[in-house]
């Protein structure tokens, strides 16, 4: 079974997109205006939440044209309240979990991807096909058996529940396999003739050429862990505030501070900023990943 993946045959690579098509100048201007309007619609929620986070609760609910995107009396109260609760801890948890995901996936996905691309062993294609077939299964479908398993392993309400199930992922293995298949075999074969072992070849010849693919894998892992919600919110029960990640903290905070929008928006801002910075720096990876990936878990 093929995965739900756009392969090179279905889609061309988006290295540097060159404008195509020739339309009249008037249409281009209309098009530009449409894009500007849509860009505004995309920014408004983020700007509104940023502005709200610097307001007092009464100011937040008294909207005027002037105060929509600008706090009338800027204050850091909301951020203070957020930090007085446990948000510093949640931020560290999110960061820690992200690091473990990245390290785990770089190690496991790379090894497996290389084996699927370059080595011959019985059952290789069957195992790979089975893996791909699971790619479209949403997390919510498997949440119950995973919960029961983690319970048996005594991992519920531990950092283990936030990390162990995610140390390897099919998309990453697929990505790395594709990558290894794209590098020429010659170098590796030359080393083999010189008597290097599989492991030596992998470490000294293949890995150094793998930095771009590893960066992409790291970025997707970061995105996946930073935004992950279904599993953490279920595997970490409500009382364990010390184990919350940012999205779980924000979701649970919502019920506590339902009307204190500035505090909620402050947490939203704190959660979004690292992702936004990452996106600004590694934009290209994010976008090409969207093209290769079938489903975001």
């Amino acid at each position: 079974m093929d995965p739900l993946v756009l392969t090179e045959s279905t889609i061309p690579d988006l290295k540097e997109s060159r404008p195509r098509g020739r339309v009249s100048q008037a249409l281009l201007i209309v098009g530009f205006i449409v894009l500007v309007i849509v860009a505004l619609i995309m920014f408004v929620p983020f700007l509104f939440s940023l502005a709200t986070s610097f307001k007092t609760p009464p100011d937040a609910t008294k909207l005027t044209f002037r105060t929509m995107f600008w706090p009338p009396a800027p204050t850091l109260d909301a951020y203070r309240t957020a930090f007085d609760s446990n948000i510093g801890r949640w931020f560290l948890n999110s960061a820690l979990v992200a690091v473990v995901w990245i390290v785990g996936r770089i190690a496991m996905d790379t090894l497996a991807g290389y084996a699927f691309a370059r080595m011959h062993f019985p059952g290789r294609d069957l195992i790979f096909t089975l893996m791909l077939a699971t790619m479209m299964i949403p997390g919510i479908v498997l949440i119950i058996p995973r919960f029961i398993l983690l319970q048996h392993l005594h991992l519920l309400n531990t950092y283990g529940a936030l990390t162990v199930p995610f140390l390897a992922d099919v998309f990453g293995i697929f990505l790395m396999k594709q990558f290894f298949e794209s590098i020429p075999l010659d170098l590796e074969e030359a080393a083999r003739i010189d008597g290097a072992s599989r492991y030596q070849i992998f470490r000294t010849i293949v890995l150094p050429n793998t930095i771009p693919a590893l960066s992409a894998l790291a970025i997707f892992s970061f995105q996946g862990s930073w935004n992950n919600f279904v599993e953490p919110v279920i595997f970490i029960s409500g009382g364990n505030t010390n184990l919350y990640t940012l999205p779980v903290g924000l979701a649970n905070f919502k019920s506590l501070y339902l009307t204190n929008w500035p505090v909620l928006m402050a947490i939203a801002v704190i959660t979004t900023v690292p992702m936004a910075l990452f996106f600004l720096v590694f934009q290209r990876y994010f976008i090409s990943g969207n093209l290769v990936s079938g489903i975001k878990g």
């Binding site: 061309p12 929620p45 019985p122 699971t134 479908v141 995610f166 140390l167």
Partner: protein, 320 residues
């Protein structure tokens, strides 16, 4: 594994290192993907609760209950409405934006980035921001009032009225079948948010597809005097067909598993009109402790997704 005499030393080394290389990932995936798939099928034939020690075999009872209990049909209806409302619109807007962004327009890179950012943001963050914007005194009502448009009453996220029923009421149509009443205003609010989130992603996929189209066809068409609109419908759309199918399938699969937004924004309220299949799995399994029944719902959800996938594949195949 049977010992084979023909295996050369290198081939055997290859085999052993192959298994060693895939072992770590395979162990994780076996534990947390393959085994759960097997176990969920087994669970769905049991009455299973984390709080009671007895977990009796109940045969197909959980599956029979899918049609008997009220919540599953409601969740299925809501999910279908959500999907039917979101997917065509996000596909069309995405395609439309991609066609514009594919022209020689200043700041294309910037627009692509701006449109794409919501799709990589946390769904929880977006849900909380929109929950705030949808409040009675939030941004959306404020803007609507300023422009002189009516605002829904009860406000967005607490309004259980079906939008089609609301539209038909002035025409004297009362008591519509719940399937025909359409998504509630609350569900519509979530749908609009999902469209806002996802158009950037669909645009980027279409943009890549457009980049791959050969320029010659367009030049020939232009020579024959085809207008931009004609070129769009008669060249672009047919050539992009596989990608349109891909985007639609991704959209259907994505909308059928919606969970985060419901968890954060509504928990299925008001009047269960935002209860989706994904949220129902959670509700039955973890708040009603009916894990066997929740497993049957999860399997139903998975079968729907599988069906969508196979329909897309067979349509594409017969097309070629």
């Amino acid at each position: 594994m049977a010992f084979r005499k023909t295996t050369s030393p290198t081939a055997r080394e290859d085999m052993i290192s192959g298994y060693l290389f895939i072992a770590p990932a395979l162990i994780v995936l076996t534990l947390f993907v393959f085994w759960p798939i097997v176990q969920i099928i087994w669970l769905s034939f049991h009455e299973w609760s984390v709080i009671t020690p007895e977990k009796p075999w109940v045969g197909l009872e959980n599956y029979r209950n899918l049609t008997k209990t009220r919540d599953f049909p409601i969740a299925l209806r809501n999910t279908v409405w959500l999907s039917v409302g979101v997917v065509p619109i996000q596909t069309l807007i995405g395609l439309f934006l991609a066609v514009i962004a594919n022209q020689k327009i200043r700041g294309r890179g910037f627009f692509r980035m701006a449109f794409y950012f919501p799709s990589i943001s946390s769904t929880v963050v977006i849900s909380v921001i929109f929950l705030w914007m949808y409040q009675q005194n939030g941004l959306i009502n404020f803007i609507l009032r300023k422009v002189g448009l009516p605002t829904p009453m009860p406000p967005w996220m607490s309004n259980p009225n079906g939008v089609i029923a609301m539209a038909l009421k002035p025409l004297g149509v009362d008591h519509l079948n719940p399937w025909l009443a359409g998504p509630s205003v609350a569900l519509l609010s979530i749908m609009m948010m999902i469209i806002w989130t996802s158009v950037g992603g669909t645009m980027v996929i279409f943009l890549a597809g457009l980049q791959g189209l050969s320029q010659d066809v367009y030049e020939a068409a232009a020579l024959d005097g085809a207008t931009a609109t004609q070129q769009f419908w008669q060249i672009t759309v047919p050539l992009l067909k596989p990608i349109i199918f891909f985007v639609v399938t991704l959209g259907l699969i994505g909308t059928f598993q919606v969970f985060d937004q419901i968890f954060v924004m509504s928990q299925g309220a008001p009047a269960k009109t935002t209860l989706t299949l994904g949220y129902l799995v959670y509700q039955e399994g973890f708040t009603n402790f009916a894990m066997g029944y929740a497993s049957a719902i999860a399997i139903a959800l998975f079968l729907i997704i599988l069906a969508i996938y196979f329909v897309q594949r067979s349509v594409l195949r017969t097309d070629q």
